[in-house]
């Protein structure tokens, strides 16, 4: 296996699929020669002539055009520069892309991927640091992916592109430079499969994206104190691998959910709701959510650190269950 960064792995995932299928193309702001604001598409413009398209600053048209192109037989992979800009094009996603197939009586396919980076920790302030995945998970008809490692990033990108449905592929800015082993060539991770990133027996920590790493770090600390945590990386939020979560809780009887989004109505709540509904008898303690504070993301680094979930908060949450 080859070492790659998460950004390279995403790119490799797109590259392999573009080689496989001539109908896959990329569009977005500055994704062409410039290689994307975070460099994720670097080089693809030259590698795939006519298949990596720069757009004007028109998120509505970017996502909206993808719906039409997908319905007409292509497989667009569009980039929205920051997930924070999705507010501009939610209609195209939730009323068009997500509902077309159902509304049309099952006679349309909308295979499109919206790639977009989320997350904080960069002092990028309130409009460039958010995690709003919960919105997408509240829209039947789209799938939502949030990989935490380079290998997952590649394998899930392949699956996202091959999927015949609209997929929100949410990257994390903090992970782009993270390096790891990644299988070469075709590599597909099926959507809807969680991954146990660390096995354990005393408590289940469910996390996704950047927070998986915070959870793993917390687990190492906890291990030193005799608490053996299992870390479940959801990878795909919709479809959700409920079985994996419930099985883990069946083993540990304790659950902490870590989510970088603001607390109220974040996806952590959904996990908690599912487990208390379907796994009530498994629980020996409250389910605790470790989330960001319910405030806009502050600019100052110290304030942002207080806003964000972190190892310390996870450890405290876990300990509160014993």
């Amino acid at each position: 296996m080859k070492k790659m960064t998460y950004a390279e792995a995403i790119r490799d995932g797109m590259r392999v699929e573009m080689q496989r299928d001539a109908n896959v193309y990329i569009a977005g702001e500055d994704v062409g020669k410039f290689g994307g604001c975070f460099g994720v598409t670097a080089g693809l413009f030259d590698e795939f002539p006519g298949r990596v398209l720069d757009t004007p600053i028109s998120e509505t048209a970017i996502v909206g055009h993808a719906v039409g192109a997908a319905a007409a037989g292509l497989r667009p992979v569009v980039e929205i520069m920051f997930i924070d800009f999705m507010g501009v094009c939610m209609d195209e996603l939730f009323n068009q892309a997500a509902k077309m197939r159902y509304m049309f009586g099952g006679k349309a396919k909308v295979p499109m991927v919206v790639r977009t980076p989320c997350g904080g920790g960069m002092t990028a302030s309130a409009q460039h640091s958010q995690c709003i995945e919960a919105w997408f998970t509240h829209i039947p008809g789209i799938k939502t992916i949030m990989p935490s490692t380079p290998a997952d990033a590649k394998g899930l990108m392949a699956a996202a592109i091959r999927d015949d449905n609209p997929v929100m592929y949410i990257e994390h800015k903090q992970l782009l430079a993270m390096s790891g082993e990644v299988p070469e060539g075709e590599y597909v991770i099926p959507l809807g499969k969680a991954d146990i990133k660390r096995a354990g027996s005393d408590v289940t920590i469910v996390a996704w994206s950047w927070m998986v790493h915070k959870a793993l770090a917390a687990a190492e600390q906890l291990a030193k104190e005799g608490i053996n945590a299992e870390v479940v990386d959801l990878r795909t939020l919709v479809p959700l691998d409920k079985e994996c979560i419930l099985q883990s809780v069946a083993k540990t009887n304790r659950l902490v959910v870590v989510n970088e989004a603001v607390r109220t109505s974040g996806f952590a709540g959904e996990i908690a709701a599912i487990v208390v509904e379907e796994g009530f008898d498994l629980l020996d303690a409250p389910i605790v959510r470790v989330t960001a504070l319910d405030i806009p993301v502050p600019f100052n680094a110290k304030l942002e650190a207080v806003y964000l979930p972190n190892e310390t908060k996870i450890i405290a949450a876990v300990k509160s269950l014993f």
């Binding site: 909206g64 509304m103 006679k107 909308v110």
Partner: protein, 321 residues
Amino acid sequence: MSDVTKEQLLDFYKTMLTIRKFEDKAAELFAAGRLPGFVHLYSGEEAVATGVCASLTNKDYITSTHRGHGHLIAKGGQVDKMMAELFAKVTGYCKGRGGSMHIADVDLGILGANGIVGAGQPIAVGAAFANQYLKNDAVSVCFFGDAASNRGTFHEALNLASVWKLPVIFVCENNRFGISMNQKDHMNIVDVSQRAISYGIPGVTIDGNDVAAVYETAKDAISRARKGEGPSLIECKTWRHYGHFQGDAGLYKDVQEQEEWLKKDPILKLEEKLKVLNFAKDTELKEIRQQIQGQIDAAVAFAENSPEPSTEDVLADVYAP
């Protein structure tokens, strides 16, 4: 006009009449409480969809609006499946899951009526991009209203289409109203076609009640698009005979204006033309009308006799397998 043959004009007549009679029937059924949901009728605007779609094949795409019945019929939609959809029956275009505002058939190139004003604009651009990318010689047509041209989607879609030089034709059906809002209160210009200037594309305003004029203008724009010469904007001035949706009495309309426009009814205009040009006699037109009325009645019977969708597969088709 010289280019339009007798056969074409008679075809236009049939299509326009099919739309009109479909809408008259829908109005009647809705008034009788027999149709669920919202219904927005196209009566009075038949020449636009008919004249434009005459130059399209099944490989070409259209995006439609909340007022979509006319576009769908002109693009080849079958009235029985459409009527069944209005009745929410499983034999309808959307298996009863969509209704009037979502009728679609991707195989016919119909990317859907749409409940969101202005939403079809970027979708049409995307379909046109697919046409360009696949080099399949097909084009896309985007129908939308005067008031829809105030949405941000209009701006972004036309700009992107122009920058990418896509084979797409934007057809603005200017019936002068967005629900109750008169055009003069929702924009500060007279001709929507002027907005083409913002994108460096051709824009033209025509009489939307003259099917031959619509046909000629659209044909040119479509052939330019097929040749790779990029998008254009066609504004068709027209009028809706009814209120915004069934149930709206349209009291905001000026009575005299309404009367004047009723005199300019595109179907009356075409009938006169057919007679003046000696292309058809009254008896022939009457025959056509009867025949089409028969089709519409049959469509209603089909819809009424069709089963409702089964509640068992309510969950199917949210996701493609």
